[in-house]
């Protein structure tokens, strides 16, 4: 059973803070993803990684960076949090070089005040 875990379910940060969101998967998946989920907008891809130290920008990368030093871990970094980054952040992983179904973590609800 694939397990994707995220470091926090709820997080409250102040404007300008640096924020780290961590994601770990236990199924040796090659691909990992960060999305944000906003009402009426669905899931929008921020970044994805198809291998260790490899990353690709998604649709909304501005204001975010990522790090993948180990295969099982994919971190999302908000360099200087802003109120418009208040959202639900979902991590996902998938196996293989072609996309299969993605397995999602429980999400982190981030509030930036």
């Amino acid at each position: 059973d694939v397990k994707v875990t995220q470091s926090s379910r709820y997080l409250v940060k102040r404007t300008g803070e640096k924020v780290f969101l961590e994601c770990v998967q236990d199924m040796d998946h090659e691909n990992m993803f960060w999305y944000r989920q906003d009402p009426g907008l669905g899931l929008r891809l921020i970044y994805f990684s198809y291998d260790v130290k490899m990353k690709e920008k998604g649709d909304i990368p501005e204001g975010y960076s990522v790090s993948r030093e180990k295969k099982e871990r994919f971190s999302l970094i908000l360099e200087s949090a802003s109120t418009n980054q208040t959202s639900m952040y979902l991590c996902a992983s998938s196996p293989g070089t072609n996309i299969y179904e993605q397995y999602f973590g429980p999400g982190t609800r981030l509030t930036v005040t």
Binding site: L43, F48, A92, I99, F104
Partner: protein
């Protein structure tokens, strides 16, 4: 640009009613298609998927979806909904062999009245 449209943002049904949620995508090539579901307070999880073959796909909990290539559609159906089907449903598409990006629709919130 590739996009996915879900026709309804909110759907309210009574138990035992039939369900059909519309999904259309804009990409003209060969695609993989998915429906995901997010029950209240739970992870997003895969409901069903289509890669190739029979265009009528059966998923968990009595859901099915039909891929109609000529209409660029992948509608989700269930003949008789239950209160426990209350959830948000997302249609998603990615291109075969075209990379790692999956495009999600905006989601449809289904509320089933007991």
């Amino acid at each position: 640009a590739q996009s996915v449209s879900q026709h309804n943002h909110h759907v309210i049904l009574s138990e035992a009613a039939s369900l059909e949620l519309g999904c259309n995508y804009s990409y003209g090539g060969t695609v993989n298609l998915f429906w995901y579901v997010q029950y209240p307070g739970q992870h997003l999880q895969l409901l069903l998927k289509y890669f190739s073959g029979d265009p009528l796909v059966k998923g968990i909990k009595g859901f099915e979806a039909e891929f109609i290539k000529s209409k660029f559609s992948f509608n989700l159906r269930k003949p008789s909904v239950q209160w426990s089907d209350t959830a948000e449903y997302f249609c998603a598409v990615n291109r075969k062999g075209g990379g790692f990006k999956t495009i999600f629709g905006a989601g449809t919130r289904l509320f089933v009245k007991a």
